[in-house]
Subunit: 213 residues, 2 copies
Amino acid sequence: MARERRRQKDRTAETSARLKAATIDLLHDRGFWRMSTVEIARQAGVSRGALTHHFASREEIITESVADMLRRVTDDLHRFAEDFADRGGSSDEIVDYIWRMMSDRLFYVTMEFLPEARHNADFKARLIPVVRAFHAGLDAVWTALAARSGVDPDRTRTAMNASMCLVRGMIAQTVIRDDPLYYTGLLDFWKTQLRPLFPVASGRGAEGGRAPG
Amino acid sequence: MARERRRQKDRTAETSARLKAATIDLLHDRGFWRMSTVEIARQAGVSRGALTHHFASREEIITESVADMLRRVTDDLHRFAEDFADRGGSSDEIVDYIWRMMSDRLFYVTMEFLPEARHNADFKARLIPVVRAFHAGLDAVWTALAARSGVDPDRTRTAMNASMCLVRGMIAQTVIRDDPLYYTGLLDFWKTQLRPLFPVASGRGAEGGRAPG
DNA sequence: ATTTACAAACAATCAAGTTTGTTTTTCGCA
DNA sequence: TGCGAAAAACAAACTTGATTGTTTGTAAAT
């Protein structure tokens, strides 16, 4: 393009980024074990030599790619939490948000590497800190909801972690069962269950923030 | 052994059963792609030649093993549904049952082959009918609960499918997060949510089952 | 006798990591 | 500031090991 001479830092950053993006793409489209480092290089538009230069092993490029992806999602999560706290959203919105976030490749990619984490202690260890950061992002969202609806934070966390698990299980099921109405039905049911737990304080503030158990 | 002369039917049945059991064991302990046909034969205590004699390919022994496993679980499900209908159990009990059923290797093994189903159309096609039968088994349980508590069957199905998804998502999370209290907390939360939807008809209160230790 | 169950050796493929070679960038130093 | 060595970014060929499906051989059941 414009610059014929590029700094090595820039070249490294760009090539690594392309390779990591290609890795996530293939993780999603081809699967953890079906994809090869040859494919990753091809998809990234670089030689396999470039790949081996920047990443010591197949396992390394995968762990770094997944870590990158989770960090990006975590950033989004924090932005959403801030925005949500500012304008005071509803529990419905949160359900929709996590459904969209998880459906958008995140949990499909997760299903690719979860089995590996279960069988490969190094891989799992490398993953845990970044997963913890992701959960901290989730907690930021839950905390915003708890503050906004005046509900006990612990109870909020439980309800929202359950929502996360529900969505995980739903997306797992989409692999075998393709039935959009089934999933919207489940989400609606879930929203209905959550609503009384997190009353919206706005407007005619009749509710003080307590829900009958 | 006791019998020196065995029918070929019996030999085939026994050897196949050993191989399929070994396949499920390794699927759980080593993972879909980490295990090899050599390992399966060794685990089953037969030669690899025996394996190739009874199963045309690696994919075939895996699909047949998984189908067998799902059929066994489905049988259990129907037995539970019958028993549950006879004595009129609580929704708490159902939550405990599906948690136990899914935690007992079933969903870990499922997480091993779900990605394969996502990327391998033949594999998926081979799986769908047996998964459908499994869901029919689940429906038998839900129907028993609906009849017993006089709740609309459709609503019951939705609530119970949500329970299944919740449990799936919880078990997926156990791969990364090892925290038994977290999971019992989620189960208790969910039982509390379900209880008012499925009131126990008798005057004895909703004492049902307690969470497993 | 002929088919079936099992056993073991074989062949071909494939992917990961290594090595070797070439071009571009960086940097110490005159 | 300019030059040359060193290092980094790529590229491609090579090595090795593992795995699957196939083939060939043998004992037992039909």
